[in-house]
């Protein structure tokens, strides 16, 4: 997706490994994507597919050792993030990139007042005094729609509900008006009504601030609601990427299609039975030579087992977002199937 667009963040050929007692885990294998300015990119995939590791690598949050980034680049504007010394990285984290996490209950320091935790970001990056910072913190709490913000700022995390804490996390992440907000499964730990509120707040703030969002989730409902662009991850790779419409309606990778079929729906028109994807993801201690989805793919061919498919370009959306899929079915010589949207331009 590195094309003519105005990208805030560009990641290329990122590879991350972890040394464990069982051997080396190849958690992220050659991941590239671009984040368009002011837009939301959703990274979708099941547990353990490397979504979180990818963004944590960008933020320098992977514990090293045992983790290490073996290859790749991640550019925020002109700044290369990977391999940046801790001191300089600390000038970017919380300042130019904000991050919120999955479990708001454990993501805030239990012995520090809510206000102070917001003030800390402002003090570190803006050099504000405590008094100034607190005033700013109350404004921020107001903006994430926490009622009675000035009283709440003096309270501790255990006096808040999960949804309220996630709002606080958003306030912390947005304190310095970052260009990029990384939200690592921000609604997974919350119940559905609270989820909707959090997503709404994120959208409203994105409109006001014009920031770009990387949203990590395994909930396709959240993707449909929030995302402009989508990257589908499987076994440490991005298997398909494109605009949200391309991914939902013109899926070009059997895994994407499988995910869609495995999503429950309350639409009476649609078939009610869920179709789970049989099997489990490959062992990333010994990543497969060929396509990672080979073992579970209903369309697998002999070639898929031993040959890694490249990312075939399918089309461009009206906005110019490239739609590509890492699947041999997209090769010009591949057999036709009705289930997968295949590019037909080259051969026919």
């Amino acid at each position: 997706m590195t094309d003519g667009h105005d990208h805030v963040l560009t990641v290329e050929h990122l590879e991350v490994e972890f040394d464990t007692y069982g051997g080396t885990v190849h958690a992220v294998r050659d991941v590239s994507f671009g984040l368009r300015r002011g837009r939301t990119l959703a990274i979708v995939g099941e547990s353990g597919c490397g979504k979180s590791v990818t963004v944590q690598a960008l933020m320098g949050l992977i514990p090293m050792p045992p983790g290490r980034v073996t290859r790749g680049s991640a550019k925020l504007g002109d700044t290369e993030l990977l391999g940046l010394p801790e001191r300089e990285l600390n000038r970017i984290r919380g300042n130019r990139i904000g991050m919120i996490f999955q479990d708001p209950m454990s993501s805030l320091n239990p012995t520090m007042r809510i206000g102070d935790q917001i003030v800390e970001t402002l003090r570190v990056h803006r050099g504000m005094s405590i008094r100034e910072g607190l005033r700013e913190a109350v404004t921020l709490l107001d903006r994430v729609r926490i009622p009675e913000a000035s009283q709440r700022a003096r309270q501790y995390p255990f006096e808040f509900s999960g949804g309220m804490l996630q709002r606080v996390m958003i306030a912390v992440a947005l304190a310095c008006s970052p260009e990029v907000l990384i939200a690592d499964e921000p609604t997974t730990a919350l119940d559905v009504t609270i989820q909707a509120q959090i997503l709404e707040i994120m959208q409203a703030l994105q409109r006001e601030e014009g920031m770009s969002i990387i949203l990590i989730t395994h909930d396709l409902g959240v993707v449909a609601r929030m995302a402009d662009d989508v990257a589908v991850m499987y076994a440490g790779q991005i298997v398909e990427t494109g605009s949200v419409d391309d991914i939902f309606h013109r899926g070009g990778h059997p895994y994407t299609i499988g995910l869609r079929r495995a999503t429950p729906s309350n639409d009476p028109e649609r078939k009610q039975t869920l179709e789970p994807i049989e099997g489990s993801p490959p062992d990333l201690f010994h990543p497969p030579v060929g396509c990672g989805y080979f073992a579970r793919c209903p369309h697998a061919m002999r070639l898929c087992e031993t040959n890694m498919p490249e990312a075939f370009e399918l089309a461009r959306s009206p906005e110019g977002v490239l739609h590509s899929a890492r699947c041999w079915l997209q090769h010009a010589a591949a057999p036709r199937t009705a289930a997968v949207n295949q590019r037909r331009s080259v051969s026919s």
Binding site: R91, I92, R93, P110, E120
Partner: protein, 311 residues
Amino acid sequence: MWTYTLRRLIQGVITVWFIATATFAAMHMVPGDPLGSDRATTEAIRANLEARYGLDKPVFPDQYLIFLGNMARGDFGISFTQQNRNVNDIIREAFPISAQLGILAVLFAAAGGVLFGALTALYRNRLPDVVIMFLVILGISIPSFVFAALGQLGVVRLNNLVGQSVLPVAGWGTLQHMLLPALVLGLGTMAFLTRLMRSSMLEVVNTDYVRTARAKGVPPLRIFWRHQLRNAVLPVITVLGPAIAAITTGGFVVELVFAIPGLGRTFVEAVQQLDYTLIMGTTVFYGAFLVLMVILVDLIYGWVDPRVRLS
């Protein structure tokens, strides 16, 4: 907070009452009596003394009630073995010495434990961790009198080397007298606290909120002080109460080796001589002290951890 404090104090008083009752019962079940036969006493003198101390009355309820009444007024009675001495006076004289020694030892233990524990956690599985954890095993398993003797030997060598007395080998009076015994006394607790602090710190290092702090761009030193240390120190504070009591009361061996006229020594001598009033007085006093320390530490804990304070 105030109701919490009040409730804890009332609980404390009840605990002390239990301790007093148990001590009283135990003392009267022990065979032998302080006015025993090896002293030259006639029947008349014996009867007089018994009347004086109230020993001619039935143990329960009369003696028990007298004992409780005196205790409530803070009067521990007269020593059976030391001439013309009140138990209160003995405690008043000896306890400050034990307390000074104990406080210094606790400071050594707490500061060392927290510092070394945090250090080992941050340098996990690297050289500082391995070395300190080895010393910790030594500190826990070697009894204090060995350290006391070794310490004295070391001081003697040091004084010989320098050619003048840098540190006194034993005795009591100045701060120099306190240093070595306090260190020896605190060593075991320091080792124990180091282990506790290490495991607690290791837990905190991997928490989500430390990750959040890093994602906020907070510099490492500030993360250590504001996010890691404060949360890791909570379990250490919990055990500090009993540790303070154990150190101040457990100083008997150290007091003996260093010839320190503290309460621990007085207490053990009283037991050997069956000095009823002195044993009961010191036991109840120690008990009350322990209870007070535990309450105090719980209140401090509430101050450090808002979750306890506010609920």
